[in-house]
């Protein structure tokens, strides 16, 4: 395993997993179990190298599991990785595509942009983050895209917020929009594209346990019907998604997650970890 720190708390891992690498496609994810007592967490693929037999992913250290994962050193091992999971993205020549990525999801977006370009699309890329220090893969995406824009929540770089998207969409016709990032950001993008009737694909990040259709915790409402994000998604038609429901379900275990994170940081739970 190799490890790179891309930005504060954003880490890129490249791990040996030849069987997973052989089958990976853009839009899919893996389930990671860091050690015996960990949670299983889903992470989107940010890359794969079939020759080297590796897959790579970028994660944000937000809670106990991801912080622990971040502590793994070069050459370390993850207890178990399962994948590739979920349906691959639909990649074909749509024409003119708008890609909007936020935060840690800029990494998997890069994979999508590459594939969309290869399929012959014209691609406009927008990346955003809370502050400028958290922007990743700026140069790579700029080089790959026909047009490229940056936005931050605080305006420390590029546009402030995503409202400028409206202007872009007024100037130019898009055949498809693809967005991956924090749920609130995807929701905003959908609110902008919906009146213009631009087909918009979102990558949903519901809570998951198994990631293969066995528990139902990842259920979401899309177009009034229940779907399991892990096997029916993770990509859905953004204009049909019940975002409020998703946001509510993502917060279900907030108190426990905080407790777990705080205890871990205090180092006080004495549970005999390695």
């Amino acid at each position: 395993m190799t490890k790179t720190e891309l930005a504060p708390k954003l880490k890129l891992f490249e791990v040996q997993a030849p069987d997973i690498a052989a089958k990976s496609q853009p839009g899919q994810f893996i389930m990671i179990l860091a050690h015996k007592k960990s949670e299983r967490i889903p992470i989107t693929l940010a890359g794969y190298d079939r020759q080297k037999g590796t897959v790579s992913f970028v994660f944000n250290e937000v809670g106990k599991t991801t912080k622990e994962l971040g502590l793994l050193g070069e050459g370390g091992t993850i207890k178990s990785i399962t994948g590739p999971l979920g349906n691959p993205s639909e990649i074909k020549n749509f024409g003119n595509v708008l890609c909007v990525g936020g935060g840690v999801f800029i990494a998997p977006l890069l994979l999508q942009v590459k594939a969309l370009r290869k399929a012959g699309n014209k691609v406009t890329t927008v990346i955003g983050a809370r502050i400028k220090d958290l922007l990743i893969y700026e140069d790579e995406l700029k080089a790959l895209s026909d047009k490229f824009y940056v936005a931050t929540d605080d305006g420390s770089k590029g546009y402030k917020g995503l409202d400028f998207l409206k202007e872009i969409l007024e100037r130019e016709h898009f055949d498809r929009c693809l967005t991956m990032g924090p749920v609130v950001m995807m929701k905003n993008v959908c609110e902008i594209t919906s009146p213009l009737n631009i087909q918009t694909v979102v990558t949903l990040t519901s809570i998951m346990i198994d990631g293969m259709g066995m528990c139902g915790v990842c259920r979401v409402t899309v177009g009034g019907k229940m779907f399991f994000t892990c096997v029916d998604g993770p990509e859905f038609d953004g204009h049909q998604v019940d975002f409020e429901g998703l946001i509510n379900r993502q917060r279900l275990f907030l108190p426990e997650e905080r407790l777990s994170s705080v205890l871990w940081e205090l180092g006080g739970c004495n549970c005999g970890r390695k």
């Binding site: 299983r40 399962t82 994948g83 346990i209 915790v217 379900r249 917060r251 777990s260």
Partner: protein, 469 residues
Amino acid sequence: MAENKPKPKVKKNEVQMPKQDPKVRGKNFDEVALGYTKEQVLEEANRCLQCVKPKCIPGCPVEIDIPAFVKLLREEKYAEAAAELKTKNALPAVCGRVCPQEEQCQKECIVGKIGDPVSVGRLERYLADWERERGFVISNKAPSTGKKIAVIGAGPAGLTVAAELAKLGHGVVIFESLHLPGGVLMYGIPEFRLPKSIVQAEVDYIKKLGVELREGYLIGRTHTIPELLNNDFDAVFIGTGAGLPKFMGIPGEELGGVYSASEFLIRVNLMKAYAFPEYDTPIRIGKHVVVIGGGNVAMDSARSALRLGAEEVCIVYRRSRDELPARAEEVENAEEEGIICKFLASPKRFIGGEKGWVKAMECICMELGPPDASGRRRPIPIKGSEFTMDTDTVIIAVGRTANPIIQRTTKGLEATKWGTIVTDENGKTSIDGVYAGGDIVTGEATVISAMGAGKKAARAIHKYLMKKK
């Protein structure tokens, strides 16, 4: 050792199994049934009449020679008795605990005509535990055939196929999608009914037979069946189980605090949420837990919820007590522990409160009409009988259907409209060299029937491979 000789007169009553006190066990995840002592096991074994035409054997889906192992047991030849079991059943410690014996081997036992049937399952459990505590002896294996079989799913069906084929000298690789083997034994049936260390030990025994286990491989995604057949393997067995949870399609199922039984049990068993925060996966249990359903899964969920600290656990079932599909013994255990059953009621919707968390459930009362296709009397809603009950945790245990990933990704594999895989009586599917068995073929059934199917399929696969050359 005169007392071990068969007694001329049989005692009518079975030797009771020692159990943890209900008040104590309702607060821990330790095993409820404690197992016989040596004296108790011999006394129970002596109740067997050693029938010439035993009625018990046909009741066992893997056809264990029950009088034979019981005879060895009462001669105190424990190792031989355990070996006799192992010739037919690779997972005796599991079956001795969770088989619905009252419907199987014990149903037709001749002693049952005058009193309680011989407690075959408890004898089996004793021997399996005796053997495990002393370390397994690996039986002789046939010489290698050079053939290789891929087994998909490490549940009871897959493990049985793997053990049988390995003993016949074939190379076997099990692909399991989760990070631990065992299937429902690991992620579904709770620790207090089937300790996970026992499952682990029985799986280790199968590994010692030379079976290779690859965890974290979701077949259909990581590899497909055609890829397995084209690359390394001469045959494939599908034992992927019925892991897809059913919901009811009523309003409010998306609320917080509404779990599918699968989610709830996976959190508690596989991820050990009962030991949060030592283990990282959380679970939240409220004060008033409602479990919907009446099968083993509902009982297991209710009893787990109680152990996680619920003040009150209520099972809501749409038929009456007589139709409860759960094992009688488990219903009795649940009631002893203080679990309440509300019969003839069915939920209509869940009502949300603060922060999108469930706070109540609206139900409707039912009455029983004529029998339906399942042979049980059909529940019919009584108009205007709606009532609400307060609840902060709902566990939906209304059944599970076939795992769909393989069917969706394997061209030419015939499936029914319920998603189960179609096979002949030996487990052969519509694709040459591909076999299937267990819950993925029958829909939700039992551990031992999955093992029985695995056994048949193993025989058929062996024939197929030896003919193929």
